[in-house]
């Protein structure tokens, strides 16, 4: 091991899988070895069995689908607002000066604290679930996109001007393409946060979804089901992350990400 020396791709995968193995082994020792009572923590085998029954008997796939739908829906609404606004703020400083102070305030408002109000306003239906995710991610996203767009290299903007680009053309042909890879990276990050908010939204006043299943399992003290639910979120997160990364590499072959 040398400082900063890169690791080969094969070794990287082996090491990454290795820690999963260590983690599951430690879990197995703690549960099968009797160090932790089964009431508090189900063993890996129990968890898998609980997961199997969830999927085959309790329609858990439907819950997963509902939760994914909520995350994607809320995230797309947030992105549809945040990306254009962030780009305009980054490119045009008066627009930034207008919105930035409010956004800096708004992004500290915890989305979960809005849940009682949102239930009052929107009931316990889908609108409320989506609102939690939107509130949780939109302000952060605007600020991050504005930061990325604002960091466009000024010398590229100058070069575009000497080549005949006007204001809107610079936004369209310089600022947006220059910022695109970083914006995609930001979206990937914020999608991860959206998963946190959806579960919080589903813990209260939901009749479906992964979060709702976890709450139900708590009443039955079924730690296997709870752990399985949490693990499913982790797996979905890992898969979307890999998909996002692959898409970014394909979309932006010119960038070194």
């Amino acid at each position: 091991m040398e400082p900063l020396k890169p690791v080969s791709p094969g070794a990287r995968i082996a090491l990454g899988a290795g820690f999963f193995a260590v983690f599951i082994a430690a879990w197995g020792v703690a549960t099968y070895g009797g160090y932790v009572p089964p009431l508090f923590l189900a063993s890996p085998g129990k968890t898998l069995l609980a997961g199997w029954s969830l999927l085959t008997e309790f329609g858990f796939l439907g819950d997963i689908a509902v939760t994914i739908w909520r995350v994607v829906g809320g995230f797309l609404i947030a992105a549809a607002v945040a990306v254009p606004l962030g780009l305009l703020m980054g490119a045009f400083k008066p627009i930034e000066a207008f919105f930035e102070p409010f956004l800096s305030f708004a992004r500290y408002l915890p989305a979960s604290a809005f849940i009682p109000l949102l239930i009052l306003w929107a009931g316990v239906g889908e609108a409320q679930k989506l609102s939690v995710i939107v509130i949780g991610s939109v302000f952060q996203l605007v600020i991050m996109v504005a930061g990325v767009a604002g960091a466009t290299r000024p010398d590229l903007v100058e070069a575009a001007r000497t080549l005949g680009s006007g204001r809107l053309s610079i936004l369209r042909r310089v600022v947006i393409p220059a910022a695109a890879p970083q914006i995609a990276e930001t979206l990937r990050l914020v999608l991860g946060w959206a998963w946190t908010y959806v579960i919080v939204a589903e813990l209260i006043g939901a009749t479906s979804g992964i979060g709702h299943m976890i709450m139900d399992s708590q009443r039955l003290l079924d730690t296997g089901q709870m752990i399985f639910g949490i693990a499913v979120i982790g797996i979905i997160g890992l898969v979307t992350d890999l998909l996002f990364k692959a898409a970014n590499r394909r979309l932006f072959p010119w960038a070194v990400l």
């Binding site: 010398d155 100058e158 575009a160 000497t162 080549l163 005949g164 393409p177 220059a178």
Partner: protein
């Protein structure tokens, strides 16, 4: 061929400083006239305001007083009639070499076929054949600056503004780029304003060298270069070249010493 006269009339630039201190004078009132087809080098120590002057001609910076006139019309903003190559690498990283060269043509809304034809011509002239589809990050510094030159030339500007375009290149690449630029200029005779701090480069390329003083900048000497074109590298070894170099070195040394004092 284009034929517009560039006139710089009383152009001055002061930069405001922090906390109510007196503003810094970067450029003293400067007058200059450049005839169509001239190759003028502006030579000066670093920080003398030579880049500021070029940026004002480009329209990227505004003069505090005075104006820049192109055939009598005042210049207020950047435009495709004044092509520029910067010292830093300013190719658009998300466009290939060919797309970079077509940038200004697309901006003007030229038909696809005409864009391709013009781009192909400048790709050939700057020796970039075979690299049309490369991303800028795959190119060496010299190749990137060739692309930047082709990108500026493709717009068919009245004037080419070059701000130390070879300043970041190694010595050998730099000399090859000088010859490439000369070749293009000898064929097209486009007006060129070339900013540099390299004396050899100024003499080798230009038919007139303007020496700028240390900050606040002003044109302190004008040295015609009576060497005939076409020029090649052997020119750098003849006695006349040496005489001119000695004279310019004398002028520059005083200014560098002043700027260090």
């Amino acid at each position: 061929m284009s034929a517009k006269t560039l006139r710089i009339a009383g152009v001055t630039r002061t930069f405001p400083t922090q906390r109510r201190a007196a503003p810094t004078l970067a450029l003293q009132p400067t007058d200059l006239s450049v005839a169509p087809g001239e190759f003028v080098a502006i030579l000066g120590p670093s920080g003398c305001g030579k880049s500021t002057l070029l940026r004002i001609v480009a329209g990227l910076d505004r003069p505090t007083a005075g104006q820049v006139l192109l055939d009598g019309t005042a210049v207020a903003a950047p435009g495709p009639d004044r092509g520029m190559v910067f010292q830093s690498y300013t190719l658009f990283p998300w466009l290939t070499v060919e797309e970079n060269i077509r940038y200004g043509l697309r901006e003007r809304g030229l038909p696809e076929a005409q864009q391709a034809e013009i781009a192909a011509r400048f790709i050939a002239r700057t020796g970039l054949r075979g690299f049309e589809g490369h991303w800028p990050r795959q190119l060496s510094g010299g190749m990137q600056q060739r692309t930047a030159l082709a990108r500026a030339l493709a717009n068919d500007p009245e004037i080419l503004l070059l701000d130390e375009p070879f300043g970041a290149l190694d010595h050998q690449t730099r000399e090859l780029m000088q010859e490439l630029l000369l070749e293009i200029w000898e064929a097209d005779r486009k007006t060129v304003l070339f900013v540099t701090h390299d004396i050899d480069e100024a003499i080798f390329l230009a038919n007139r060298v303007l020496v700028m003083s240390a900050r606040p900048g002003r044109i302190k000497a004008e040295v015609p270069v009576p060497l005939p074109y076409p020029r090649d590298w052997t020119m750098k070894t003849i006695p006349e070249f040496g005489t001119l170099k000695a004279r310019l070195m004398g002028e520059i040394r005083d200014e560098v010493r002043k700027s260090l004092a």
